[in-house]
Structures are given as structure tokens and as C-alpha cells.
């Protein structure tokens, strides 16, 4: 199937919709199609993304995609989702976890749901995995996306929730490394302003409008690694889970190093 056949690819997605065309999380093929067109333009034309290791994207069955998170704006999520939708022969819908504040924002509140995103609670993840769907997790969370330019391509601390989930649901982990996002909005963190406003960080970019709103047209490179399977007790000691989470973190870090070596330029 050609990758510009958005209609055909959307139709090929596995959507457990009801007679009104919505799945239980509010995903609708009709809304998805529109979003997919925009995502494809960003993926192909704006970010000129290249994907590697597409054969590692499972065509079906439960899976947890685990990726590094960077660049102030969550375009890395969009690029990963676009890659799994556009690149493999069988398009795969990867549902990412959005922050708890998203449902309070007008329009984003329901549009994100129509496009397949879900509020990031462990219950929601469990339910999707039990229905053999794929989810995307950024274990660095806000620590990752808001880190300053000086810390680029250094992974922040990983949360352990994804590992607990993988063990409990017996789901394979697909490691993902995203190269390029770090340079889309090179920011410094103004700690004083962050303290004043009570936010975890206050990123400032050195060009108007000085707050990260529009990403620079960097070239994205996405690496999918071989799926990893873990076994063990999901209620184990934090240390034991941490050990396992570190294995995934190290794998992603080495994929990032590889990607940086292969890259010739930030913008092309």
C-alpha cells in the first residue's frame, strides 16, 4: 500500500469501533483520517523524517513503544505515530499517553481522543494492552521534553511504570530512539522564572517569539529496535524494576549514539 493512500491505510487500521464509529476511548476513523493527512505532511515535507528498523514494528498484538522524549514540543510523539502508520506494510496505530491537563484544554480535550491519544493512567494502558493494542510511553516524561539544549541526547531518569506494565501484561517493549527533536527548539531553562511561576521549567529559545511554539524544520530520524521481552514479578522491589528499566534505557541510549554517528547534518 503506498504511503500517500491515507484512506486505505486508515481503513486498514484495527479500530474496535461501535455502530457510531467510535472506540471506547473516543477514537474515530473519520477524525483520524484528517489528522493523518496533516501528520503525513509534517512527517514527509516539514521534518523529512527517515525511519529505520521498520521490520521491528509488530504488525499485531500488544506492544509498548518506549522512546526518548525531547524538544520542548511533543512532535516526537507525532513522528513516531506517523512512522508506524505510514512506513510498514500493515499500518499500526500507536496510542500515546497524554498528560492529565490535556482534558482540561478546550478542543485538545476531545480532538486528541478522536485521533487515538489517551489520558496516561495505568488503567487505560492495561486496558489497551489487554485488547492487543500498542501504546507509546515516554518514561522520561516532562523531565525529558523540557530539558535544556545543553543536555541534548542525554536521557533523563526513567520512570518505572512502563516496566511494571510490561511485566504485568506480558507485553514486548519496542525501544525507539528519536534523533532531531532535540534541535527543533534549542532552549535554555530560566530557573528564576520557573520558580516564580511554579512550573517545573521555563524554556526560552533564542529567537522570536522566545517561547517554544513552532519547531525549526530539523530532519527527524527514528530508530525502532528489536522488541524486548521481560519476565518477573511486576510488584518486585523498586531496585529490581529499576535494573530492568535501565536495560531498556541503555538500549535506547546506544541507539541514539548510533543515530547521531549516522547523521550528517541537523537540517538535512
Amino acid at each position: 500500500m503506498p504511503d500517500d493512500d491515507i484512506v486505505g491505510r486508515t481503513q486498514a487500521l484495527v479500530v474496535r469501533g461501535n455502530e457510531f464509529g467510535f472506540d471506547e476511548f473516543g477514537l474515530s476513523r473519520d477524525s483520524f483520517r484528517g489528522a493523518a493527512r496533516v501528520a503525513r505532511w509534517l512527517y514527509r515535507n516539514y521534518f523529512r523524517a527517515s525511519a529505520f528498523g521498520i521490520e521491528h514494528i509488530p504488525a499485531q498484538g500488544r506492544a509498548i513503544f518506549v522512546s526518548n522524549h525531547s524538544g520542548q514540543l511533543p512532535f516526537d510523539g507525532l513522528v513516531i505515530a506517523a512512522a508506524t502508520f505510514l512506513e510498514p506494510p500493515q499500518p499500526r496505530l500507536v496510542r500515546s499517553m497524554v498528560e492529565y491537563f490535556v482534558p482540561t484544554v478546550p478542543f485538545a480535550s476531545y480532538l486528541f481522543a478522536r485521533w487515538g491519544q489517551i489520558t496516561g493512567t495505568p488503567e487505560n494502558c492495561r486496558r489497551l494492552l489487554a485488547s492487543e493494542e500498542a501504546v507509546l510511553v515516554f518514561p522520561e516524561g516532562a523531565r525529558g521534553i523540557s530539558k535544556p539544549f545543553s543536555k541534548r541526547y542525554q536521557l533523563a531518569e526513567f520512570g518505572k511504570g512502563f516496566m511494571r506494565l510490561a511485566l504485568e501484561m506480558q507485553a514486548p517493549i519496542v525501544p525507539v530512539a528519536v534523533i532531531g527533536a532535540e534541535e527543533q527548539a534549542p532552549a535554555i531553562n530560566v530557573k528564576l522564572l520557573a520558580r516564580l511561576l511554579g512550573t517545573p521549567s521555563f524554556p526560552v529559545v533564542p529567537y522570536p517569539p522566545f517561547v517554544p511554539l513552532v519547531p525549526l524544520p530539523v530532519k527527524y530520524r527514528v530508530y525502532f529496535g528489536e522488541p524486548m521481552m521481560f519476565t518477573g514479578d511486576p510488584d518486585d522491589d523498586e531496585d529490581v524494576l529499576d535494573e530492568k528499566a535501565k536495560i531498556v534505557k541503555n538500549r535506547i541510549q546506544s541507539m541514539i549514539h548510533l543515530g547521531l554517528r549516522e547523521r550528517e547534518h541537523v537540517f538535512w
Binding site: N18, E19, F20, F22, E24, F25, G26, Y100, F101, V102, P103, T104, V105, P106, F107, A108, S109, Y110, A113, I118, T119, T121, E123, N124, R127
Partner: protein, 317 residues
């Protein structure tokens, strides 16, 4: 069937709030089973009452209500008498709901009623931005956090849950149905009957509806001996609020959410709108529940499909 057979003693069920539309539908459903002797308990008269239904037009808190239980032959209580009239005085509502429920539970324990069924609501969990898509029965009841008007509902549920654990000899069942729709006068059905209902600009939460007949069916199934516990009741599926309104041919009016509270409370005070401001978050955030426990333990399956359930609000004559 031999006609000269002496009939076994009918089981006696007391239904509070029987005069309301939900009450009458439940009464009709149990009446249909033929093995129930139905006793109504309501302050209001019961219209269209079949002769074999006994009705006591009394206050739940009165001595006369106790007399119904004192005889000691009541086999079950179905408590639907939760009052949430948005125009009633809050103090009176509180006393009716909390004192009334406490008394009923006292009678059930004192006069050995073996079965108590409370029809609570899935609304007790409260619509919240950080809710998981499907809440299970052990989720905290947070509905009163942002809107104190919801506290009666939550408190009654808590009262009966405590009773469930304390009075071990009574089989207590708490049903928490999602928005009940049909020929009834409750908040969700009234809202869906408005030609130009208010919605919040940029919000379109997924909602669950259940047909009132399906709720009556679940009550009948909760009355089966041996069943006790807390159960969410879900209908035929999940749809966005906008899809429900579209299916009904309504023309919603979108209000930006920062203005919704003042506008709607003003309209409510002036009598222009009957939309209770306390319910605003229900058209903003998700409050959906997981019904798998009721399906596994009560064998509950909704009989009405999505479209039939949605259109049931227009069945009101």
C-alpha cells in the same frame, strides 16, 4: 398448571420512590414476575396503581414508615427514594436523603429484612480530567469535590456501603448505573430532551447511557438470593456527547467554559433554564465506568442497543 394448588407466599418487596417514573417502571417489572408482593413507600400518591400494589403515602422519616417493616414480613427493600430536585431547599433535601436512608437501614437491620438494593449512580465517582477512561467499583467517590450539591448522592452511597460491610446478615446490593435515559424525569434525560441544549465550547466527552428498562432488569437480578456487593451498570456502549445530540437532532449551543457557570446559574435562577450548574462537569470531563463485574456476577447484559437507548428519551408522552 393445576389451579387448585395453594400459591406459595409471595415475597414482599418495599420500593421507596415508587411514584416517580423510574419507581413505576421498576414496580411494573417486578409485578410482571408474579412472585413479588409490591409495597410502595412514597410521599406522593401513585398514579395508575394496580389494585394488588399496596401503597403507603408517608414520609420515609415518619413512624408510619417504620410500621411497614415492624411486622417483620418484608423480604426486600429497593431504595429509589433518593431525592435530587435541583429546586428544593438543600437543607430539606439533605435531611430527607440522609436521615431517610439511615432510618431505612435501621429498620432493615432491626426487623431482619434479608435484602437491600440501593440504586445509586455512576455519577458518584465524579467527572474529572484525570479519571481513567473506565472507573471500577473501588474508585473513590469524588463527585462532591467540585460541586457540593452532589454530596447527598455520595453520602447515601457511603451509608449503604458501610451497611453492606457492617450488617453481614443482610444481602446488600449497590447498583451504580450510568446516565439513565428513557421516559423518566432525571437530569440526563431532561438535558437530552432540550431542543437547544448548552454544551461547552471545545469539550465533547465520551458518555455512557443505559435504558431505564435495563436498570429495572438489573434490579430484578440483584434481588435474586445470594447476590451482594457493589456493581457498576453500563449500557450498550460509549459515544461522544455530540454524537448523542446529533442522533436526536438537537442543535446544541456552545458556551465558552469560563462563562458557563455564571451564565447558567443566572438562567437557572431566572427560571429560563433548568440545567443544574452542579452537573456542568458531566458535559466537560469523562465519568465512565467499567461494568464487567455486574456482567460476570449478576449476568447483566443490556437488552437495548445504542440507538434505541438514545431515542428512549423521546418516548416521554
Amino acid at each position: 398448571m393445576p389451579t387448585d394448588r395453594t400459591l406459595p407466599r409471595l415475597r414482599k418487596v418495599v420500593i421507596t420512590g415508587i411514584s416517580g417514573r423510574l419507581g413505576r417502571i421498576v414496580a411494573r417489572r417486578l409485578h410482571h414476575d408474579l412472585d413479588w408482593q409490591i409495597v410502595g413507600l412514597d410521599r406522593r400518591p401513585m398514579q395508575g396503581r394496580p389494585k394488588d400494589i399496596e401503597h403507603h403515602q408517608v414520609d420515609l422519616r415518619s413512624k408510619k414508615a417504620r410500621d411497614i417493616f415492624r411486622v417483620g414480613d418484608v423480604d426486600a427493600l429497593v431504595h429509589l427514594g433518593v431525592m435530587h430536585d435541583p429546586r428544593a431547599r438543600p437543607a430539606e433535601l439533605y435531611s430527607w436523603n440522609i436521615t431517610g436512608t439511615t432510618k431505612l437501614l435501621e429498620y432493615c437491620q432491626a426487623y431482619r429484612v434479608p435484602k437491600v438494593v440501593l440504586v445509586s449512580s455512576a455519577n458518584v465517582y465524579g467527572p474529572r480530567p484525570d479519571n481513567p477512561q473506565f472507573l471500577t467499583e473501588d474508585a473513590p467517590l469524588l463527585a462532591a469535590q467540585r460541586f457540593p450539591q452532589m454530596r447527598d448522592l455520595v453520602e447515601i452511597d457511603h451509608l449503604v456501603s458501610t451497611f453492606l460491610w457492617r450488617a453481614q446478615q443482610v444481602e446488600t446490593v449497590i447498583l451504580r448505573p450510568v446516565h439513565i435515559v428513557g421516559p423518566v424525569h432525571n437530569a440526563p434525560s431532561n438535558y437530552l430532551r432540550i431542543e437547544r441544549p448548552p454544551i461547552l465550547l471545545g469539550f465533547d466527552p465520551m458518555v455512557q447511557l443505559i435504558h431505564v428498562q435495563d436498570v429495572a432488569e438489573a434490579i430484578a437480578s440483584a434481588l435474586v438470593p445470594g447476590r451482594r456487593g457493589i456493581y457498576n451498570l453500563v449500557g450498550p456502549g460509549e459515544v461522544p456527547l455530540s454524537a448523542v445530540l446529533k442522533e436526536l437532532g438537537r442543535e446544541p449551543v456552545a458556551i465558552p467554559h469560563p462563562f458557563a457557570k455564571p451564565i447558567l446559574s443566572l438562567a437557572f435562577r431566572l427560571g429560563i433554564s433548568s440545567f443544574p450548574v452542579a452537573e456542568l462537569d458531566f458535559i466537560r470531563y469523562v465519568c465512565m465506568v467499567d461494568g464487567r463485574r455486574a456482567s460476570a456476577e449478576l449476568g447483566f447484559r443490556p437488552q437495548f442497543g445504542l440507538r434505541d437507548t438514545i431515542h428512549a428519551v423521546d418516548e416521554l408522552a
